[in-house]
């Protein structure tokens, strides 16, 4: 199998991946080859959302895609959300304040997903529960849009309180 050397742009940094097996997923490239272990592998088949990262501002399941396909794209992970001075992103702050997690394993994916979701919502993109005009975020719209991110500890109530608070800022 031919190996590949290429570059990824992650959180504004250029990372060179040398002699990479083409089977390496974007998730494994980020975790094992770039040392950014915030994104998590919960199922490796796009069912749990723990691997969610942002690519050009859109949320994707990084376990379901190959690293090779993402050369030149703007990848952002949980490690890249806080300000340069370390101050937390409003969603990160709100997740802490509203106890939007217990074990914390799904949390990087939940937060990255929420960043992408709020951008989709603000752009007026419909969801499966949208009936005509996109309705208010609180309630069915938020719950539908965040249902790709599983939390087995059951922090869903805190997660949506956190997202609504951050969205209002």
């Amino acid at each position: 199998m031919p190996l590949h050397t290429f570059q990824l742009q992650i959180n504004g940094d250029t990372r060179t991946l040398s002699n990479l097996d083409p089977r390496v997923s974007l998730l494994d490239a980020i975790r094992d080859h770039c040392g950014l272990t915030g994104a998590k592998k919960g199922c490796n088949q796009g069912a749990c959302g723990a691997c969610t990262v942002l690519v050009d501002g859109e949320r994707i399941n990084s376990c379901l895609t190959l690293a090779l396909q993402y050369e030149g794209r703007d990848i952002r992970t949980i490690e890249g959300l806080a300000e340069a001075d370390g101050s937390l992103h409003p969603l990160q702050k709100a997740f802490v304040e509203h106890d939007g997690f217990q074990c914390g394993f799904c949390t990087p994916g939940q937060i990255c997903s929420a960043v992408g979701m709020l951008a989709e919502y603000k752009a007026g993109a419909p969801s499966a529960v949208t009936d005509g005009e996109v309705g208010e975020l609180a309630g069915a719209e938020l719950q539908e849009r965040m249902s790709g991110n599983l939390c087995r500890c059951g922090a869903y109530v805190g997660i949506r309180e956190a997202i609504l608070e951050a969205a209002a800022q």
Binding site: C43, D99, F101, Q102, G104, F105, E144, R152
Partner: protein, 763 residues
């Protein structure tokens, strides 16, 4: 119950109680909604979980699994796997070095954490469909997985029982269930059932479940020579894994170190030393490399067992005032041919209701399937589904409010043992729940509320979970810089362990939280048991309290020797830890820890302490209680059930951190909603193979499934527990499936007796 147990119990009855914990009402930190201390690390990706550890020169392992339930491997072809680039080693029963079969997980009082009596890789015999048959080590995870997929085995199958339904008739009564009698009886229950104003007799079934923590099991093994092993493991029992892996490889237990500071959810699934751990250690030893074995989601289903299926009969009779006359709760669970865990579903009614006559007991049957294990509220979760559905059905027979029927049968003492309750405020929990839910405005008649295409209904059920306390050791150190640290090997899977124990240590020693640290998640620290049985918070708290008292006594002794100390004349009973030091209880004079230590020329004072056995559990009936209220809507055409409102009212001793406690309660309720409506591990009854081993096909609740969940609690401290607290990790799930089923009945008039309540059962 053994004769010895009976003797101990009768002796304990006359022993005096420990005085209530002096911090029972203290609220400088305890009782306050303090944010999780590890929150910032968890929201920034800095929290290091097992598979995240950067280890140099790491090799990667993957497993291949059997595809038959029982028989012999007649051939195993590893050539294709070995020929792939990057493959370092392939081990099968033909070449795997001998490993000892470790002792099975007991009743929680030992360090043994084995999960199966089947040999792993050291036999051509197959005991379950999914048993590991080959271990591959390669340079990369991709290479290891690809190679494992190329292992090909042929088998000679043997007859075996893989269907729970088919095995029920052969069930046998085990000698004991968690140390309790497998069956308890009083009076002539058949007579009591036949002569009554109303009776119900229903049979319930519950399917197998899997924990499905979002973090799959993973291990990194690193040997230092032949006798020292370090394991990073996704464990909720670091000491148990250390002991078990030492047994497997013939090492001294203290030569195996297990590290698990962050664990991505457990729910019981990470309590045992499942076979992946020993295989990871074996891979590392045989290759001379550190090895990571990160289980796939499917792999977790194949080798880590879940909750047993059950069949339960509930028959209850009552007089026309609702008083329970006859009460039967009996049935069957499954374990495997290679493990022993009869899940205690018959425990709840032993402690919940007054009954004139009863027969409460259970049997177990052995299947050729993956070993079962404990999963959140083993016993009480599925037991309350049957019992609390049965009581609801009886309430309709009697035309009584289901809340009133339960209160009518509220006992004054434990209905089976006769022991006094340590703390029971069930009536208050119900009153609070009734008020918050607006229960009184619910119409009595089922199938009487409709909103468009949806039937609406409200249901209620009781939840309960025992108080357990485990023997636990802790070390406490107070240093000359005025800081303190407490250490135990206990675990944090998201319950809030680190935060609540830091609150406790600061309160106990009179220090600010910023000056204390709680260290955990490492088997080399003083011994703590499995994070299970909702026991960890109080078990660790008592060990820290008693170790802390030793340290304070030693500090006071230093002060007493010093003429300049204002504590020179003080006895231990005269002083209290506060304001960062030791002070006279009455006059208020005293001095700081820093002052005592610096004058004595010491850097620190520390002490280890191991707590005594939980004798209070033999004297008192100690339990937590819940009243679960919910509203559902059921689609008239499709049968779809949606939960649209929930109020959980809890009586669980003193609440130590309301914010985190509410999260725990909600988490339990949410897992219970999954159990009620969607969760089922589907075995192919012909082959014993799990057919939905993924999060795409095993349906845990998602964000859209969960309504607002209100939580209220009595906050009544238990005078017989450390801090007045009870553990709360499991009570939340109990009663939930029954509350949903009862609401579905109220909405539709259909009594669903088998979980999950899927659409087809309501068509």
């Amino acid at each position: 119950m053994s004769i010895l147990n009976k003797v101990i119990r009768s002796v304990v009855q006359v022993m005096p109680d420990q005085a209530p914990d002096e911090l029972i009402a203290s609220n400088r930190y305890l009782g306050r909604s303090i944010n999780r201390l590890n929150g910032p690390d968890k929201v920034t990706g800095k929290a290091t979980f097992t598979a995240d550890y950067p280890v140099a020169n790491l090799a990667h392992a993957a497993l291949a699994y059997s595809t038959i339930a029982k028989g012999r491997i007649t051939s195993i072809d590893t050539k294709a796997a070995e020929a792939l680039p990057g493959v370092i080693l392939v081990l099968t029963h033909e070449n795997a070095p001998e490993m000892k079969v470790p002792k099975e997980f007991g009743d929680g009082s030992s360090n043994d954490a084995g999960t199966t009596q089947a040999k792993i890789l050291n036999t051509d015999h197959v005991s379950w469909n999914g048993q590991p048959i080959a271990l591959v080590v390669a340079e990369t995870p991709e290479q290891a997985e690809a190679a494992a997929a190329r292992i090909h085995a042929t088998y000679e199958k043997e007859d075996c029982v893989t269907s729970f339904e088919a095995a029920i008739g052969d069930a046998k009564q085990p000698k004991a269930i968690m140390g309790e009698d497998p069956e308890v009886t009083r009076g002539d229950v058949e007579q009591a059932l036949s002569q009554s104003a109303a009776r119900i007799d229903l049979t319930f079934t519950t399917p197998p479940h899997n924990h499905n923590a979002i973090e799959p099991h993973a291990c990194i093994a690193q040997w230092d020579g032949k006798d020292d092993l370090t394991l990073y493991d996704t464990s909720q029992f670091t000491a148990g894994v250390a002991t078990t892996i030492a047994q497997v490889f013939g090492l001294k237990a203290d030569h195996v170190r297990v590290v698990a500071p962050y664990v991505g959810g457990g729910f019981g699934g990470k309590g045992g030393a499942w076979p992946y751990i020993q295989l990871c250690a074996l891979a590392a030893r045989e290759t001379g490399r550190p090895v990571r074995l990160a289980m796939t989601r499917e792999g977790v289903f194949r080798i880590v067992g879940g909750r047993t299926p059950s069949q339960q009969r509930v028959a209850i009779s009552a007089d026309d005032a609702g008083k329970f006359l006859g009460f039967v709760h009996e049935g069957v669970t499954a374990q495997s041919t290679h493990n022993h865990f009869p899940e205690q579903f018959s425990f709840p009614p032993r402690h919940l209701y007054s009954m004139e006559a009863y027969r409460i007991g259970q049997k177990v049957t052995d299947l050729s399937r993956v070993a079962n294990t404990f999963m959140r509220a083993p016993g009480e979760s599925i037991g309350t589904f049957a019992v609390e559905s049965g009581i609801d059905a009886l309430a309709y027979e009697l035309k009584m409010c289901p809340v009133a029927l339960r209160m009518r049968n509220e006992p004054d003492a434990d209905p089976v043992s006769g022991s006094p309750f340590s703390s029971r405020h069930m009536r208050k929990a119900y009153e609070m729940g009734v008020e918050r839910f607006g229960w009184k405005s619910r119409p009595a008649e089922p199938r009487s509320q409709r909103d468009g295409d949806w039937w609406i209904g409200q249901g209620v059920a009781t939840g309960t979970y025992p108080v357990y306390r485990m023997v636990t050791a802790a070390r406490v150190r107070i240093s000359a810089d005025g800081t303190a640290v407490a250490q135990t090997s206990c675990q944090e899977m998201g319950m809030g362990t680190e935060t609540v124990q830091t609150q406790h240590l600061a309160e106990r020693l009179g220090l600010p939280m910023s000056k204390v640290r709680f260290e955990y998640g490492d088997s080399t620290l003083p011994y703590a048991g499995v994070a299970g049985g909702s026991s960890q918070t109080v078990s660790v708290a008592l060990a820290v309290q008693e170790a802390g008292a030793k340290v304070l006594k030693e500090l006071l002794a230093l002060a007493q020797k010093d003429e300049r100390s204002p504590l020179r004349e003080a006895n231990f009973e005269d002083v209290v830890a506060k304001d960062e030091g030791i002070f006279w209880r009455v006059s208020g004079g005293g001095e700081s820890y820093a002052a005592i230590l610096s004058r004595a020329g010491k850097d620190f004072v520390e002490a280890d302490h191991k707590t005594g056995a939980p004798m209070e559990l033999l004297k008192y009936s100690m339990h937590s209680y819940a009243a679960q209220f919910c509203e559902v809507r059921v689609h008239a055409l499709s049968g779809e059930v949606r939960v649209q409102r929930w109020v959980g009212s809890f009586d669980t001793g003193r609440i130590l951190n309301p914010k985190m406690a509410v999260s725990q309660f909600r988490g339990g309720i949410i897992m219970g909603i999954g159990m009620a409506l969607t969760e089922e591990t589907m075995f192919d009854d012909r082959t014993g193979r799990i057919m939905n081993p993924s999060l795409a096909e095993y349906h845990v609740p998602v964000q859209a499934d969960i309504p607002d969940i209100e939580v209220v609690y009595t906050n009544e401290p238990d005078p017989h527990t450390p801090l007045g607290a009870h553990g709360i990790g499991e009570i939340g799930i109990t009663g939930v499936a029954a509350a949903v089923a009862n609401a579905v009945y109220h909405a539709t008039g259909k009594r669903v007796t088998s979980l999950p309540i899927t659409l087809d059962k309501l068509m």
